[in-house]
Amino acid sequence: MGYRSFQAKLHYLCAKMSHELVKIALNGEPFEVEGPLTVTELLARLDIDPRRIAVEHNLVVLKRAAFGHTTINAGDQVEIVNFVGGG
């Protein structure tokens, strides 16, 4: 392992352990959350039932099955929607 990749791995591990705050745009508003994290983790942190919502990640609508392996990184744009009354 070269010094550079060692440094990168160290940085990654430190970030994972220290839970860095990542800044994202969540439903159009600035939002800070400990991460990086998956969509499933974000929903759990927000106490949102994943069965009743839909998520758009950087303008791509996610299949529900992808929530667990889609990682949200700093600068990402996330939209979480649900159904409300309408005509």
Partner: protein, 273 residues
């Protein structure tokens, strides 16, 4: 009489009345109104989850009162009984409407969408150019597209040609309760429509819904006329009956209009002549 079934795309509906879920005074009233309406398809809107309500959810859980955002519309809709039709209400561009339709598909259980692309805030009239663009995109993506449009026969024909599953011209502006404003346009649209024709918006009271059906509409979609009535449950039932009555009158074939009288009783055998 032949069985009168209502089919859109590959789905059969028992009711020709489609109702909304907006503007109700309470979820309980909505549930009872839906039941009274006899409808089996109901519209819902797709909106951002309120995140600020949920920020507290990151702290220790409070058990006293749920945050307002924790309550879901779907808690009040039996999805085994009602087919959900997500709308793109409030979208002003084809892009917004397409994104919203895709989100609605993932949040729900179907690939159906009531497509709205609004062009003007005050009238909520659709932007038909953007509506056509969005219809073409969503049809290509496999959606069953039900576009809300003006009562313009040319636009309706273009939407039909673009692959819409139904055409849904307005009777009058959304929520206006003015009733059917252009009877003759609806007649023309009836003649050209090879797909279901659903009058969407503008109904104020039962006779408006009956008139739409008498003109040959295959269905009527409404929200405010029921939700905004003083007694929404009673109005829902009246709309159920009106849609049914109008449909039967259309199938029965009305008499032609004449300027002068035509006696109903025999003119022979009158006493004293």
């Amino acid at each position: 009489m032949q069985p009168d079934i209502f089919v859109i795309a590959d789905r059969t509906f028992s009711s020709r009345l489609i109702v909304g879920t907006g503007k109700y005074s309470s979820p309980a009233v909505m549930v009872r109104a839906h039941d009274a309406s006899g409808a089996d398809m109901i519209t819902v809107a797709v909106r951002r989850v309120n995140i600020s309500d949920r920020s507290s959810a990151r702290g220790p859980r409070e058990h006293s009162e749920p945050s307002s955002g924790a309550e879901s519309l779907l808690d009040y809709i039996d999805t085994a009984k009602y087919f959900l039709l997500p709308n793109t209400a409030g979208c002003y561009t084809a892009d917004e409407a397409v994104r919203t339709a895709r989100l609605g598909r993932e949040a729900g259980l179907s690939h159906w969408v009531k497509l709205e692309v609004i062009g003007d805030e005050k009238t909520l009239f659709p932007d038909n150019e953007a509506l056509l663009d969005a219809t073409r995109i969503l049809v290509r993506e496999g959606f069953v597209v039900l576009p809300y449009t003006t009562d313009d026969p040319v636009v309706c024909r273009k939407l039909q040609d673009a692959g819409a599953a139904a055409i849904m011209p307005l009777g009058a502006p959304i929520g206006s309760g003015l009733g059917i404003q252009n009877v003759n346009n609806l007649r023309i649209i009836r003649e050209l429509a090879r797909i279901p024709l659903i009058v969407d918006a503008g109904v104020g009271t039962a006779s408006d819904a009956a008139l739409a059906m008498e003109l040959g509409a295959d269905g009527v979609l409404m929200n405010t006329a029921i939700a905004g009535a003083q007694d929404p449950v009673a109005m829902a039932e009246s709309m159920k009956l009106a849609v049914r009555a109008g449909r039967l009158a259309y199938l029965a074939g009305r008499i032609p209009r004449k300027l002068y009288a035509s006696a109903s009783s025999p003119i022979e055998g009158l006493v004293g002549r």
